[in-house]
């Protein structure tokens, strides 16, 4: 009952479950445990001191704040991009579709370099923003832009298939029932796509929290201002302070885990609502 649901093409619940546990353990749980042990290697007061150091706290705020903001921006713009790609046929659609995946393939350091070139004070776009008092490169805004770039494909690629599967007749039904475009969008289309949007959000967010390569170029890495936690960890490592690096890593791990778990629970609830609580 519990372990054996139905016969399937892949044999044996025992074997598959064994593999799952092994892989998760070897690749995810064990290294993370090692991290926690390393962090716990120091005594409690020093641990608290390291992780609550104002410089570290400022970096948490920046990292999670910018990641959250970037993920939010992405669900809006990623949605629009996905919508355009699914609903319209225009010349160059395949080309744009391919460009979406570029941030996946590019080494992130290259993205950072490219963004810096464009947004720095004398860059193509930066030179027009600077006189307006908008500083992008070497400022939190730049970090957010970099994280948005890194996370966008996740949203587009999760929303796209869901949007393709969304039946057109549902929108037509809403129209014949008297709903206007806005009402239809917010009450019919968006709720139906919410699980996909949330997944995209989660992926983009998770990716942004862990991002390092592109930020180091555009952020300028000014402590308390544009220093992100992953960078802080590297700095600690450079100082051979492995324990402190592990401690800060533990805090990142904890925050990330709590946030991802929360999003997953919301999602599971949403899925149950749509696919039906009773399995038949």
């Amino acid at each position: 009952m519990y372990w054996r649901r139905e016969r399937s093409v892949i044999p044996g619940f025992g074997i598959t479950f064994g593999f799952t546990t092994f892989f998760l353990s070897a690749l995810v749980l064990l290294p993370l445990t090692a991290l926690v042990i390393k962090g716990a290697g120091m005594d409690w007061t020093r641990f608290i001191k390291v992780v609550t150091d104002p410089r570290a706290v400022a970096s948490y705020k920046l990292t999670f704040g910018a990641s959250l903001l970037a993920a939010l921006i992405n669900i809006v713009f990623g949605f629009i991009v996905a919508w355009t790609l699914v609903r319209y046929r225009f010349p160059g659609r395949r080309f744009i579709d391919a460009i979406i995946d570029m941030p996946f393939a590019l080494p992130t350091a290259v993205s950072g370099l490219a963004l810096t070139a464009v947004f720095s004070g004398n860059g193509w776009i930066g030179q027009y923003l600077e006189p307006l008092g908008i500083k992008v490169a070497y400022a939190p805004l730049g970090i957010t832009i970099a994280l948005t770039l890194i996370g966008m494909p996740f949203v587009v690629r999760t929303v796209q298939p869901a949007l393709e599967e969304l039946p057109k007749d549902v929108e037509e039904a809403a129209a014949t029932l008297g709903a206007g475009p806005a009402y239809t969008f917010f009450r019919v289309i968006l709720p139906a796509l919410l699980p996909a949007v949330l997944t995209g959000f989660t992926l983009a967010f998770a990716r942004a929290v862990g991002e390092y390569g592109s930020i180091t170029f555009i952020a300028g890495n000014i402590p308390f201002k544009t220093e992100i936690t992953p960078l802080l960890i590297i700095i600690k490592l450079d100082e051979y302070d492995y324990a402190a690096a592990a401690a800060i890593g533990c805090v990142m791990l904890a925050i990330s885990f709590v946030m991802l778990l929360a999003i997953n629970l919301v999602q599971a609830w949403g899925r149950r609502r749509i696919s039906g609580a009773v399995r038949r």
Partner: protein, 579 residues
């Protein structure tokens, strides 16, 4: 009138999918649009709902023109084939959707919801999600949802398409009773004739974007006007027979048949409909109570419960028969008989029986079959391969015979539309065919394909009736546009202009009344053959239906067209003027 459609046309990439459809549905009527897939019936329904824009024509609901009103403001209820329920909302929320949009108060909304759930027999299902319901239940919810805002018109697009037979039947009853109870004007689209018969007050049959016939189910079944309707609604045997002054003759045997149109002019070939259940089987010709058709051997027997189905092969007149079922095997005829009849005369495969027709219906279609005239076998064969002719013969489920100059092979002996190759000598040949008994001559090139436009032009008024009938018959089988043409001298003051205009309008109303055919009209300034030729030259792939009551003038016009428009296919319709 609850729904009024006027000459509605919808094109996709230039191809008309709904072609000049006019229709009125009365208040409280249950109207069924029936047709094969791709006939344009769903598109027409969606046009009524405002879900697709139409290219031409107008749509009115309860006297208000809604042609340019969006789906949202038309106030119709629409039920989709795949339910289209909002899957993230409960049954209650789905049903209340239209009411929430209209900001109805909570208590009122709940009362209305309870009322609707009772109507579709789903009480107590309020809090379920669509995924927790069976297909039939989901469609009931969809019906309740479509009725929530008290629409004036309910439109259903193949609502039973995704359900299995048993539930289909049950839901059919529900929908019929809901419709009766509310008295709401309803249009349902289906491809299932049984469903159409069970539900409809009136049925409209569509094919290739055209609304072919509209009638109450019984009339449509017993007295269809077109071949397509005859064969699409139930099983049908189509027999080619001769209609002359003395009545209908099948081969050499005269038979009784209901004829709507009296016989005019020379004897000609007609298409008759014989339903399988109207066939009488008997061991001896003398025992038949109905008119004798011929002898046949039993080829196949099938037990289907209440009825026995037989496939018979006629021993004489073989080439005169087509059946709607099967591969169009010639000479094969289908019959059904109830069990008591089977017990009275048990039959086995190979037995020979005498066939009687209890009831034959003559289709009022002027085109029966085709006879290709060529100077040699190869020329005739080439002509029989012309794309347009192949398409026509296949869609009309009729035969193409050949005549290659052997003695006695004249239109009198070989009835049907005479087909001949276009070319410089074609006008003279056509005149000869007309003189020897042909009523219609089709002039084709080797590459003539399906036309986009069928232009009607008649040289003299007595030929108008036949021209329209032939064109209407062609248009039922070809997805082309219909245009009535008249020519008049360019001068505005010329009285002939007024006459031509009146003739056009008369023709248009005749086409509409007699053939349910919507046509465009064109009054071209200029003198007949030149003006006509110039107009046709400017049209993309036209086919000209040319009517004439005089062989000499027909020949003259054809000669002009043959020199100036050698690629133009022409269907010449000749009717002797009565003196």
């Amino acid at each position: 009138m609850s729904i009024t459609l006027e000459q509605v046309t919808k094109r996709y990439q230039g191809q008309p999918v709904v072609n000049d459809v006019s229709l009125s549905v009365a208040e409280g009527e249950f109207f069924v649009l029936l047709g094969p897939s791709g006939s344009g019936k769903s598109t027409l329904l969606r046009a009524i709902a405002g879900l697709v824009d139409i290219d031409q024509g107008s749509i009115a609901l309860h006297g208000n023109d809604v042609t340019h009103v969006g789906a949202r403001d038309r106030g119709v209820g629409f039920v989709f084939q795949h339910y289209a329920l909002f899957r993230h909302l409960t049954v209650a929320e789905n049903i209340e959707f239209a009411l929430r949009v209209r900001r109805m108060k909570g208590a009122e909304r709940r009362a209305r919801r309870a009322e609707l759930l009772k109507l579709v027999a789903l009480e107590g299902m309020d809090q379920r999600l669509p995924a927790q319901l069976s297909g039939g239940q989901q469609q009931r919810v969809a019906v309740a949802r479509a009725l929530a805002h008290k629409p004036q018109v309910l439109l259903l697009d193949e609502p039973f398409g995704a359900l299995d037979a048993k539930i289909r039947e049950e839901l059919r009853w529900t929908i019929r009773s809901v419709q009766r109870e509310l008295g709401i004007t309803t249009v349902l689209v289906t491809h299932d004739q049984e469903e159409a018969f069970a539900l409809a007050d009136r049925i409209g049959v569509m094919n290739l974007g055209r609304l072919l016939e509209v009638a109450v189910p019984r009339d449509l079944y017993a007295r269809p006007a077109t071949r397509f309707v005859a064969t699409f609604l139930g099983a049908a045997n189509l027999l080619l027979a001769q209609q002359g002054p003395e009545g209908i003759r099948f081969g050499t045997t005269p038979v009784d048949a209901t004829v709507r149109q009296p016989h005019i002019g020379r004897e000609h070939e007609v298409v008759t409909l014989l339903r399988p259940e109207e066939l009488e089987l008997s061991a001896q010709r003398e025992q038949l109570t109905s008119s004798y058709l011929g002898r046949a051997t039993v080829e196949e027997l099938q037990f289907t419960g209440a009825l026995e189905r037989l496939r018979l092969r006629l021993l004489d007149n073989q080439n005169a028969v087509q059946t709607s079922a099967g591969d169009g095997a010639e000479g094969r005829i289908e019959a059904t008989r109830p069990q008591p009849e089977r017990r009275a005369l048990p039959l086995a495969i190979g037995d020979v029986v005498a066939l009687g027709a209890r009831r034959l219906h003559v289709l009022p279609t002027p085109l029966s079959s085709f006879v290709v005239y060529g100077i040699s076998d190869s020329a005739a064969l080439e002509l029989a391969q012309v794309p347009l002719l192949i398409t026509l013969a296949a869609r009309m489920k009729t035969r193409v015979a050949a005549c290659t100059g052997e003695p006695g092979c004249t239109p009198t002996a070989m009835p049907g539309v005479a087909v001949t190759a276009a070319g410089p000598d074609a006008p003279a040949r056509t005149a000869e065919l007309l003189r020897t008994g042909a009523n219609e001559v089709l002039l084709l090139n080797a590459t003539t394909d399906v036309p986009q436009q069928i232009c009607m032009y008649w040289l003299d008024e007595p030929a108008r009736h036949a021209t329209l009938a032939v064109a209407a018959s062609l248009l039922r089988h070809l997805p082309a546009e219909a245009v009535c043409i008249a020519t008049a001298p360019a001068g505005r003051r010329d009285p002939r202009r007024g006459q031509a205009l009146r003739a056009l309008l008369d023709a248009r109303s005749e086409a509409r009344a007699a053939h349910a055919l919507e046509t465009r009209t064109e009054l071209i300034p200029g003198e007949a053959p030149q003006a006509l030729g110039d107009y046709l030259a400017s049209q993309p792939t036209p086919l000209l239906v040319l009517g004439s009551a005089d062989i000499a003038s027909a020949q003259r016009t054809l000669e002009y067209l043959a020199t100036h428009l050698p690629a133009l296919p022409v269907m010449l319709v000749y009717r002797e003027a009565r003196h």
